[in-house]
Symmetry: D2
Subunit: 415 residues, 4 copies
C-alpha cells in the first residue's frame, strides 16, 4: 500500500461517457470549486467516518476527461446549466471558469457513441467505435496513476434478448460483426473499460454490470464495477421510508409516485422505451422492501420549465390497526445533478481504492448508491449503508486513529 | 418457565391508567375485535418474525382493567370515539359491544388520580390515593398470571425539581408527606406498579422511567419498565427519514414541523406547560440523529374538527453539493389512537415476557417505540429496531429454527 | 306559474341513466337522508341566496327512477358504496334503508344501454333500445308533474366523426339504420329525453349537448339542457385559482395535475379512449383562464384502494417580477360522489324551473357546474357563478322578500 | 391635464420609508432592470388591460428616494439580498449596478424614524423628526412632477388607544408634545406625507389609513391614500380560494395556516406584539369570505435559512353533502419581495393618477392589493379586482376604444 506521501501525489483519471450532460457538468464545476475552496464538500458520502479514513484519492487529485455525442466544451456546458437551472451561482462559475476552459482538450466529440438499431450506410462499425474509445482511454490512463470510467450517458433502450447478454464469446462476436441491433452503447462502453482494465461505474439504468457476459469479462480482467441506476430522489426516499411501514407492521395498500423534471434526462425519458428500465427499477424496490405485492405506479413527466429541479410527489396509502386506512404524502424538490454529482465522486474514489486493493467484480458495498444494485438483495437504505460501513471498517481500521467518530487503534503501524 | 400448555392457558392482566381515553378505548375495541376475528392483526409489531417466535402471550389472553379520572365505561367511551372520529366501523363496534360491556366493572372512576399542585381541602392525600390504586392492582393481579401497568393518562406538567426525582427515600417521604407539589400523578402510578412488582409501560411524555429515584425502586424490586412518549407519527417519520440525510452527507438547515390534532390529547397539549415535555422529546431527536445543532421548531395546534385524525406537515430545508439548498416536505394523516393502540399490545406482550424471564430495569430493546427512549442513545429507527430484533433473536433462537413465517418449533426443548 | 301551495304539492321525476353508479347511489342516499332530516343540506348550491328564493322544487318532492347496465337495486348499491368507501355512516344507511328498498321497482336493468361499435348478432337494434327507454320515461313522467333526465353513465369513447353530430336528419337516419358505430349511448339517451320533451342534464364528458344535431332537436322541442362534465375537484380548484395568477400578472409556466381515484369512474378512465374527452376538458380550461398556451398535463390513475376518495395533486410553476420562478402545489382529498351528488340535485331543480318557465336550449347559467360548459366562453369560476346569480336575481326578485341577503321587493304581486 | 407629450416627459418621485428593506431593494433592482430591458414586466398588475389604457406614469419615469433606520446604500442592500436569497441573478444585478449606485444620495440614514415608547434622553423629539422628514419630501418633490410616499418599514406595535387615533387635533397635539407613547412611526410618516400633499401607500400592517384622525387630514388636504398590509401569498390565495367553498355551499370546519419565512420581516414578526396586527388581518379575512365563524389559526415562524423565500402551508378541513368531512391543503413557495415589489409600482402608478385626477381619501379600488383594505367590505379577490377593473373602465373609456390589448388611442381628445 502506498505511503501517505505517495497517496497525495497520485492522480487518477475519471473518464466520463456522456461528459457534457448536466450531471457531468455539475460534477466538473463542483470538483473544481472544491479544489479552489469555493464550495464545501457537502454531499460527499466518502467524507463521512469511517470512510474518510480509507485513504481515498482526494477529489483535488482527480483529473477529468470524456466523450459526448454532443459537441461543445465543459465550459460551454457549465454556462448552459447555469442559465437553465441556476443550480450554482455565477460567482462559483466565474471562480472555476479557467479550470473548466483547460478541460476542453480532454473531452472528445464522438457522435458515433450512440446509435439506433437500424444502421445507416457510412456509420462507423462497432469495432471502429470501440477502437477509438479504447485508444482515448489508453492515452488518458498513461497520464495518471489510475483511471475510472463512468457512464453518465442518456438512457438507452434495453438490449434485445440475445446470447450477447449472457455469453462473452457471443458478445465479442457481435462486436466484431457490427451487430448494433444486439449491442447497446452502454454495453460497448463497459466492454472497452474492462478490456483496458479500468473500473466501470454505471450511473445509468443502461445495461452493463448485471449482464453475465460482461461480468465474466470483469472477473477475467480482475476489474471492479458497479451499478445500476443511481438513486438521488424519490427512490432514495422510498428505500429510507418504506422500512418504517414494515417495522410497524403497517400494510401499504398503494404507493403512487410522480416525477416531474425538465432536464435532458427528463426529455429522453419521455420516450417510453427509454423509460422502461428506470420505471422497473423504481417499482421493484417497494415489493422487495415490503415483502408483498402492492399497487404502485411511478410516472415520469417532462416539464421543461423545471430545468434540473426535479419535483416528485408520492402518495402512500396504508392500513393500520383495525384495518384503518391512512395516508402519507411527500414532495421532494431537489436539483437532480446536485444530488447526483457527489455520488460520482464517491464511487470513483471507492472504485479506485478497490482497484488498488485488487478487488474485482461487482462492488457490493456500493449498493446504497443504486436503485437496482448488482448482487445485493437488500433494498433498505440502512442495510445497504451498513454494507458500505462494514467495508470501510474492515479496511480503515489501522488508519482510523485520531479521526472523528472512530475508535482508536493504538497499533504503531497505524497511519 | 411455564410449559407450552400452560402458556396458552395463562391470562395476563393489563391495567390502564387513563383507561377511558381514546388510545385505551381503541385498544380495547381492537383487542376484542382481534379475539373475535373481526379485524386483522395489522399494526402489531410483535407479529413480525422473529418476534413471533418468542412465545409471547396472545392478545386474546390479555384481560383489561384500569382507572380514569373521567366517569364512564369502555362501551360508552367506544361509542364516543366512534361518533367523533369514525376510526372503526359501526359493524366492528357492534361486533364487540357485548365484550366491551363486560369490561365495565374492571374500570374504576377515580378523580383523585389527577391533582394540581395547589391542594384543595378535602382532597385525599397521596398515601390514600396510592393505597387505593395498589389495592386495585392487587385484586386484579390475583385473577391472572401476570399484570402489566400502562400509563395512558394525559400529559402532566413536569415535576418540580427536587430530591424526589433522584432519591427514592426522598420520594417516599414526599409521598408520605402528601407533597402534591413534588409528586406528579405519573410518578405515583409508576411507584405503585413497582411496589406491587408489576412491569410499567410509560406510553406518555410524563415523568417516570427516567427518574433515578424510581429506577432504583425498579432495580430493587426486579421489575422491568419502559418509556418515554410513544412515537406514532411525525417523530416516527423523523427517525426513519433523518438518517437518509446523514448518510448522504446532506446538511439539514431547518426542519419545521406542525402537528394538528383534535382529540383530548390535543386539547390538553394546548396548555403550554403540558406541552413542554412532548415538544422537547420531538425536538431533541433531530440533533441526535444528525449530529449537529439545527433550526427546528415543532408546533402542536388543537383543531377540534380533526378529532383523532392527526395531520402533521414537515418542511425539511437542506443543503447539498455546491451548498445548493433544496427542500422536502411531507404530510402525515393518521388516526392517532389507531397508530398507538397496537404498540400498547406490543409492549405489554414484551413486558410480560421480560418479567417471566426475570429481566429488570429499563427495557432498552423497546427503544423503537419511543420518542425519548430510556438508556438508549441511538435515535435512528433502524438502529432502535435492530435492538429489538437482536433481543428477539437471542431469546427466540431455539424456536426460530427453520425460516421466517414459521411460527412454532414443536421440539420439546422449546421454551 | 303555479301558486305556492301547488308548488309544494308538485312532484318531479328524476330519471338517472347510470342509476346504480356511485354518484347516483350517493344522491339517492342523500335525498332520502335530507327528507328524513338525517343529514344537512350542505353542498346544495341552490340553497344559497338568491337561489333559495326561486321557488325551486324541494328535494323532498323529487321522485327517483332510472336504468343501469348493471343488475342490482339502489339498496344493494348503497351497501356496496358503504363497504367500499364509507362515505356515509352506517347509521345514515340504516336510516334510509326502507326508503331505498322502495325505489327498486323504478330502476331497470338494461344492458342494451351500452354497446361497442362492433354489433354482435342478437343485440337489440338502436330503435328498439330507444323505444324501450322512451316508454320508461313516458310511464315515469305520467306519475309526476315533470321529469328531468340525468346522464350519470360511464365515459363513452367519443363518437366517430359523421354527419350525425351536426345534422338532426342524419342522426335520426343513423338511429333508424342501427348505426351503433356512429351513435354513442349518451347521444341516444339525450335524443330520447328530448323527444319526450324532458330536460336533459349531461353530468358526464360524453357527447350530447354540444352537438348541433341534438341542439337543433332541443330547440325544436323547446327543451332545456346542460353539460358537459361536472367539475367537482381538481378542475373546480383550477377555475377558482388560475384567475388569481392572471389578476396578479404572474405567468404560469407549467401546471401539472395528477388524479388518483379508485371508483368505477377511475376504472373506466384507465382506458385511454374513454379518458380522452375528460382530459381534454381538464386541459383546455387553463388556456382559457390564462389567455396563453402553457405546458399542462393531467394524469388520471386508477388506485383501487382509494375507493371513491379522489386524491389530486397539482404543481403550479409560475414566474413573477424579475422573471423569478416560484411554485404552488395543492392536494385535494375529496369523496367524488359526495362532491358530485348535490350538484345533480341543483341541476335537476334548476332544469325543472327552466322547463316550467318555458326556457329552452343550453342552460348557460349552469356553466359553473361544468368543466366544459356549453355556449359559455367564460372559464373562471367567479364569472360562471355570476351568471347563475344574475339568472336567479332576474327571476327571484319578486319572491325574495324577507329572505337573507336579498333586497326586498315590496310589490304585492310577489309569491 | 398634461398633453401626451408632457405625460411622457413627466417624472414622479417615489419616497420609500424603509427604503433599504428587501421589498424596497427588490423594487429598485426591478425598476432599473425594466428600464434597461433586462427583465420583463411580469407581475405588474397595471399592465393588464384596461389598466394599461389609463395613461399611467411609466415605471421608467419614476425616480426613487427614501430613508431607513439602517445605514447603507441601495447597491449594498441589493448585494445583501442577492447573497441571502438569490432572488435575482448576478447578471441582472451587474446590469443595474451603476443605476443603483447613483441612487445613494437620495436615501437618508435616519435612525430616529423608529422609536420605542420609552424615550431615551437625547432622542430627537417627534416634531424634529417630522420636520426633517417633511424637508426631505419637499426637496424631493421639487425635482419631480409628483411624489408618492410608500411605507415599507417593519411592523410596529399597534398604537396605544388614545384620542390620537380618532381626532386630528389630539394627534397634532401629541406630535407637538412628543408623545412617542401615543404616536407610532407609521402614523408620523403618514402625517408628514399628507401635510406635504403627497399620496400615501401603506404597504404594511402598521396603523395609518384606517385611523379617523389621519383620514380627516387626508380629506382636508385632498390627498389619496391606501392600505393596509399588502397581500402577496397565503392571504392572496385564501381570498381566491375561500369563495369556491362558499359557492359550492361546502362548510369549512377549520382552516389552519403556517407561514415560514427567514427575511427581516420574519425576524421582526417573531416578536408577538409586532405580529398582532398581521395575524388579525390574516384571520379576519376568512370569516368575511365565508360568512360564519370558523376555527382558523395562522402561525408565522422565523426560519432563517429560507431567506426571502416564504413557504406557507394551509390545511382546509371542510364538510360536504351528507356532512362528509374532506380536506384540501396547499403549499406556497414564493419569494416575498418579488411578489411584493411590483405591487408597489402598481400602487404608485395608480396613486399618481388619482392625485392628478383630484381624487382624495381612501383609494377603494386598490382593495385587491391588501389583506385589510380600507373602506371595502368585500373580501373576495374577484370582487376586489372587479373594483379595480370598474375604476379603470370608467376612466379609460375614451382611450380604450377598440379592444383589449390595444394600448393607445391616438385621437387628440385623449386624456
Amino acid at each position: 500500500m502506498p505511503s501517505r506521501k505517495l497517496a497525495t501525489a497520485r492522480t487518477v483519471g475519471v473518464y466520463l461517457v456522456g461528459g457534457l450532460g448536466d450531471i457531468a457538468t455539475t460534477l466538473l464545476v463542483g470538483a473544481c470549486a472544491i479544489r479552489r475552496g469555493l464550495a464545501s464538500r457537502t454531499g460527499l458520502v466518502t467524507d463521512l467516518p469511517p470512510l474518510d479514513a480509507l485513504g481515498l484519492i482526494e477529489p483535488a487529485a482527480l483529473r477529468f476527461g470524456g466523450a459526448d455525442i454532443r459537441p461543445g466544451t465543459p465550459l460551454e456546458a457549465a454556462g448552459a446549466v447555469y442559465r437553465a437551472s441556476r443550480t450554482f451561482s455565477r460567482e462559483l462559475l466565474d471562480g472555476v471558469r479557467d479550470d473548466l476552459a483547460q478541460l476542453a482538450p480532454a473531452f472528445a466529440h464522438d457522435p458515433a457513441l450512440q446509435w439506433s438499431t437500424a444502421c445507416a450506410p457510412g456509420d462507423p462499425p462497432l469495432a471502429e467505435i470501440a477502437a477509438r474509445l479504447r485508444a482515448r482511454l489508453r492515452a488518458f490512463a498513461q497520464a495518471h496513476d489510475g483511471l475510472v470510467v463512468v457512464n453518465l450517458a442518456s438512457a438507452d433502450a434495453a438490449p434485445a434478448p440475445s446470447a450477447c447478454t449472457t455469453d462473452l464469446d457471443a458478445l465479442e462476436a457481435a462486436l466484431a460483426g457490427n451487430r448494433k441491433d444486439l449491442i447497446t452503447p452502454a454495453m460497448l462502453a463497459m466492454h472497452c473499460a474492462l478490456m483496458e482494465g479500468h473500473p466501470y461505474v454505471n450511473f445509468t439504468p443502461n445495461a452493463g454490470p448485471e449482464l453475465p457476459s460482461l461480468r465474466a469479462l470483469a472477473q477475467a480482467r480482475r476489474v471492479p464495477h458497479c451499478g445500476n441506476d443511481a438513486k438521488t430522489g424519490e427512490t432514495l426516499v422510498k428505500t429510507a421510508l418504506a422500512p418504517m411501514f414494515a417495522w410497524r407492521n403497517l400494510r401499504v395498500l398503494s404507493w403512487e409516485g410522480v416525477n416531474l423534471l425538465g432536464n435532458n434526462d427528463g426529455r429522453m425519458l419521455a420516450e417510453p422505451q427509454r423509460r422502461a428500465a428506470k420505471l422497473r427499477n423504481k417499482r421493484d424496490v417497494l415489493e422487495k422492501l415490503l415483502g408483498y405485492p402492492l399497487h404502485s405506479d411511478v410516472a415520469i413527466n417532462y416539464v421543461p420549465s423545471l430545468g434540473d429541479w426535479k419535483t416528485a410527489w408520492d402518495l402512500i396509502h396504508f392500513q393500520g390497526f383495525l384495518d384503518v386506512p391512512m395516508t402519507m404524502q411527500f414532495t421532494w424538490q431537489g436539483c437532480d445533478s446536485v444530488l447526483a454529482a457527489p455520488l460520482v465522486l464517491d464511487m470513483v474514489r471507492l472504485a479506485d481504492l478497490a482497484r488498488r486493493r485488487g478487488e474485482a467484480g461487482a462492488m457490493r458495498h456500493l449498493a446504497c448508491f443504486f436503485k437496482n444494485p448488482i448482487d445485493v438483495d437488500e433494498a433498505a437504505l440502512h442495510a445497504q449503508f451498513a454494507l458500505l460501513l462494514a467495508y470501510a471498517r474492515d479496511r480503515a481500521a489501522p488508519r482510523a486513529a485520531g479521526r472523528r467518530g472512530i475508535r482508536r487503534d493504538p497499533s504503531p503501524s497505524a497511519g
